[in-house]
């Protein structure tokens, strides 16, 4: 008995000490649970959704997307001008901005950050490819000279990858002969100008950020009372749910669909669900096999049960796509039809293509871990069986899938590949060019179905250099219509982004492009 009391006492002591021993008070700390840990924190290298949350608050860009919208607004730049030929962009910087290490953020620092990302030439650098040079004209003026007009340049600058401004002093302090850009140090440290500064990254556990007192927007008169941010890496979604329910985390990023239904309406928890710009497609092999015939592709498009897909496969956590580009983007073609299931039409098209009773087998490939894509495959399999077409579903890990679709030989490419696409910035060309321009056939890029339409190519080429926004929009809308008509893929759905918060977290706004990010400066806690 005495031993039991002793044991109980020890346990109580443990718990007591844990409660007593907190340095930064919990009520001024925002704790976020997410399953995704970035591979690197280097703003010039990282190119993955997992880095968005830290990138958005530690680093700042010349311009950014307005919270909750796809509209670009000034951030470190106060204003900008473009030369009439669209090739020279001049930005006036905000004065008095300092990095977390105390050094000033001036035009030289901005130029340095871009030179660094371009020299490293990894991940996000492809977006900076049209830049010929970037230089500081004077202390607060920075000028980009481009190789060609780049109509979406402002969008690119607002994107989260590769465009954040990093402290040159910090880079130089940690550079070595082998590593002139301090990639090794910056892969686990961050020095930017944002409202929160980087404190530590305990790998696999958490990243801690602390409020940057000298932030240029200032802290007087704002509602924000968040002194510290802890981003905890919790792989298992059900654990995130437990932590959220007990209030040990304030925001959970990965609540499973099942848990989402269960915590709906629970007091103290707020659920935010918004359609994302992430697109899921079934890409046809347009160059080999039965799907090289547009009528077969269209027959398959008419066979899929879209209503069942959204309601049963995705349980309502998605919206059907309209055309190849994301709904909600500027220049998205809103006039395209939404495909519906029509087996009669499918039979007619198959008969025209010379397969009145089907009689062939197609391979459907999807990436492991994407349950939604497996179940869409099964749905399609059932519909195609009615048309006499056999669908063979193959699951592959990403490297293997990539190997299959990046071969230059269409004979090796599967008939149907389920794949997804995240836009880096809010411009439909970010969807259309890499996936539908014939210069982007494997192994170059993502036109994995070997789609080619010279008219589409010409429209996209024009759109790449057209500086008049309205004229460019027309080109892009026309390209979307042509692509829909050629049916190189079935445009499936936009999954929703689901964020679960405690009700004491205020000021959260979902951002369609910085999906996983938080505008922490505008947020506060009411506990």
């Amino acid at each position: 008995m005495a031993r039991r009391i002793l044991l109980g006492g020890a346990l109580l002591m443990v718990i007591g000490l844990l409660v007593w021993g907190q340095e930064v008070p919990r009520e001024r700390t925002l704790v976020i649970a997410t399953g995704l840990q970035p591979s690197t924190l280097d703003i010039g290298v990282g190119y993955e959704a997992a880095a968005i949350n830290v990138n958005l608050v530690v680093y700042e860009r010349l311009v950014r997307y307005k919270p909750g919208s796809v509209e670009v607004e000034p951030e470190l730049a106060e204003s900008w001008t473009v030369s009439p030929d669209g090739k020279v962009w001049t930005f006036k910087l905000r004065p008095g901005v300092r990095f977390h290490d105390g050094t000033p953020c001036d035009a030289a620092a901005v130029a340095f950050s871009f030179q660094r990302a371009m020299a490293i030439n990894l991940g996000p650098a492809w977006m900076l490819e049209p830049i010929e040079k970037v230089e500081a004209v004077d202390k607060l003026t920075v000028q980009f000279t481009l190789k060609r007009p780049y109509p979406e340049f402002l969008q690119v600058l607002a994107n989260i990858f590769g465009t954040g401004i990093v402290s040159p002093a910090a880079v130089k302090a940690h550079a070595t002969d082998d590593d002139p850009w301090a990639q090794e140090w910056l892969s686990s440290h961050m020095v930017g100008t944002g409202p929160y500064e980087f404190v530590e990254w305990l790998k696999g556990q958490h990243i801690i950020l602390r409020r940057f007192e000298d932030y240029w927007r200032g802290w007087d008169g704002v509602k924000n009372n968040i002194e510290q941010v802890i981003i905890r890496y919790i792989t298992e979604p059900s654990v995130q749910r437990l932590l959220l329910e007990r209030g040990d985390v304030d925001i959970a990023m990965d609540i499973s669909v099942d848990d989402w239904e269960l915590i709906k309406g629970k007091p103290g928890i707020v659920l935010v669900e918004e359609p994302s710009m992430h697109a899921t497609y079934l890409r046809f092999n347009c160059a080999a096999g039965p799907t090289a015939d547009v009528r077969v592709r269209k027959a398959i498009r008419a066979a899929l049960d879209y209503k069942g897909m959204i309601e049963y496969v995705l349980r309502g956590h998605a919206v059907q796509m309209q055309g190849a580009a994301a709904i909600g983007l500027p220049c998205h073609n809103d006039e395209l039809p939404l495909p519906v299931q029509d087996l009669e039409l499918a039979r007619k098209l198959l008969a025209e293509a010379g397969h009145p009773n089907g009689g062939f087998t197609l391979e459907y490939v999807y990436e492991s871990g994407h349950e939604d894509r497996r179940r869409v495959g099964e749905l399609l399999q059932a519909s195609l069986a009615e048309l006499g077409i056999t669908l063979k579903i193959t699951e592959l890990p990403w490297p293997d899938l990539w190997e299959r679709v990046s071969a230059a030989d269409p004979e090796r490419t599967p008939a149907i590949v389920a794949n997804g696409w995240w836009p880096d910035y809010a411009d439909v060309i970010n969807f259309l060019y890499p996936m539908y321009h014939s210069s982007q056939w494997p192994p170059v890029a993502f036109n994995i179905g070997f789609y080619k339409n010279e008219e589409v190519d010409a429209l996209l080429d024009q759109a790449q250099v057209e500086t008049d926004p309205a004229a460019r929009c027309e080109l892009l809308k026309k390209a979307q219509a042509l692509i829909y008509e050629d049916c190189p893929d079935i445009d499936l759905y936009h999954l929703t982004t689901r964020v679960a918060l405690r009700d004491w977290v205020k000021g959260y706004v979902y951002s369609p492009i910085y999906t996983e990010g938080f505008f922490l400066y505008n947020m506060w806690l009411e506990k």
């Binding site: 000490l17 844990l18 690197t40 990894l122 492809w126 977006m127 437990l242």
Partner: protein, 335 residues
């Protein structure tokens, strides 16, 4: 003895060398282009080639292997294609937590499993023995994943006694880095808050991890001890009038120890397998998730390093167990 040790070390090196060869070839022949993945999804061909050159992936396989081995002998595992950091840096961050969890769980199942086995052997066919049998049966048949989640549900969600996961409370600074094992480091530096928080956090994951092995070890102890207790020399010892305690602990247990040690060594090996799931459930920042990521992104250098270090650990444990035989049973001599 020394000659034996040297020979065993030689074999260990040979095993590890074989491991490097097999893993190296396997990571290079499986489908997928590591350079393509490392360069980023939208990289152009020239960027991919740049990465390929940077990591030496453009050279013939045997040259790559030669360079790799030369670097390895200098203790350099190369750079991770995924994080772009030296592999050794990531490995240090992820390997030590796994080691700590493994050691703690190992200690737990050995220190609890053996006494439980002894008790069941001594009180054979008593309610205690039946209870322990039931306990063991549950231990070997309960999947780690379910068991971990159930513990979490009871002790975190309902009772609130233990944290849901992590290695230390995020509000408490980890102890100063000496060995990288939080419990040891906080003991050495006298950081009691960190020590308590670490123990608090390691408890549920190690119970989850240890339970299956505990069951096996306790059953093995019981069986082995019962066999020894039936021997003539035990009867002789008792006939000499030795106390039951002495008979049990000095005569019987020591002789029963060899199979127990063998099974313990094997169980430590199997802990390495179970640790992946436990790490996921309890958000333990260990090798499991790191290894998983390395495989999915074809981070060849990281895969090599993980395999080698795990192999080293496994062979090391086996060697220690073999050497312990001579300690518990002087009749065993290695030449």
């Amino acid at each position: 003895m020394w000659a034996y040790l040297l020979r065993r070390l030689g074999y260990t090196l040979l095993t590890l060398w074989g491991l490097t060869l097999i893993t190296f070839v396997l990571t290079r022949v499986i489908p997928g282009d590591p350079a393509r993945i490392a360069a980023g999804p939208q990289a152009r061909q020239e960027q991919v080639e740049q990465v390929r050159r940077m990591y030496g992936l453009d050279k013939p396989l045997w040259v790559q292997y030669g360079i790799y081995m030369a670097n390895l002998l200098r203790g350099d595992f190369g750079k991770s294609l995924w994080s772009k950091r030296p592999v050794i840096e990531d490995l240090r961050a992820y390997f030590l937590p796994t080691t700590e969890l493994g050691l703690f769980a190992g200690l737990m199942f050995f220190c609890l499993g053996v006494p439980l086995g002894i008790l069941s052997a001594v009180y054979r066919n008593s309610p205690l023995d039946h209870l322990s049998r039931l306990f063991a049966l549950a231990g070997v048949s309960l999947p780690v994943f379910i068991f971990g989640l159930v513990l979490q549900l009871i002790f975190y969600k309902i009772l609130g006694w233990f944290p849901a996961g992590g290695r230390i409370d995020p509000f408490i600074a980890p102890p100063r880095h000496l060995t990288g094992l939080y419990i040891l480091d906080s003991l050495l530096t006298g950081n009691w808050r960190a020590l308590l928080s670490s123990l608090h956090h390691i408890f549920l994951p190690s119970v989850t991890l240890a339970y299956g092995s505990l069951a096996v070890v306790s059953r093995m102890t019981r069986a082995s001890l019962l066999e020894v207790l039936g021997q003539d020399y035990i009867r002789t010892a008792r006939a000499k009038g030795l106390g039951e305690r002495t008979v049990l602990l000095k005569h019987a247990l020591r002789n029963a120890m060899v199979p127990i040690l063998t099974i313990t060594g094997l169980q430590i090996g199997s802990l390495l397998g179970g640790v992946l799931l436990v790490e996921i459930i309890f958000s333990w920042p260990g090798l499991g998730t790191y290894a998983y990521t390395a495989v999915t992104v074809l981070d060849v250098n990281a895969i090599m390093a993980i395999t080698l270090v795990t192999g080293l650990l496994y062979t090391g444990v086996n060697l220690v167990v073999d050497l312990l035989y001579t300690v518990v049973d002087p009749r065993i001599r290695y030449r």
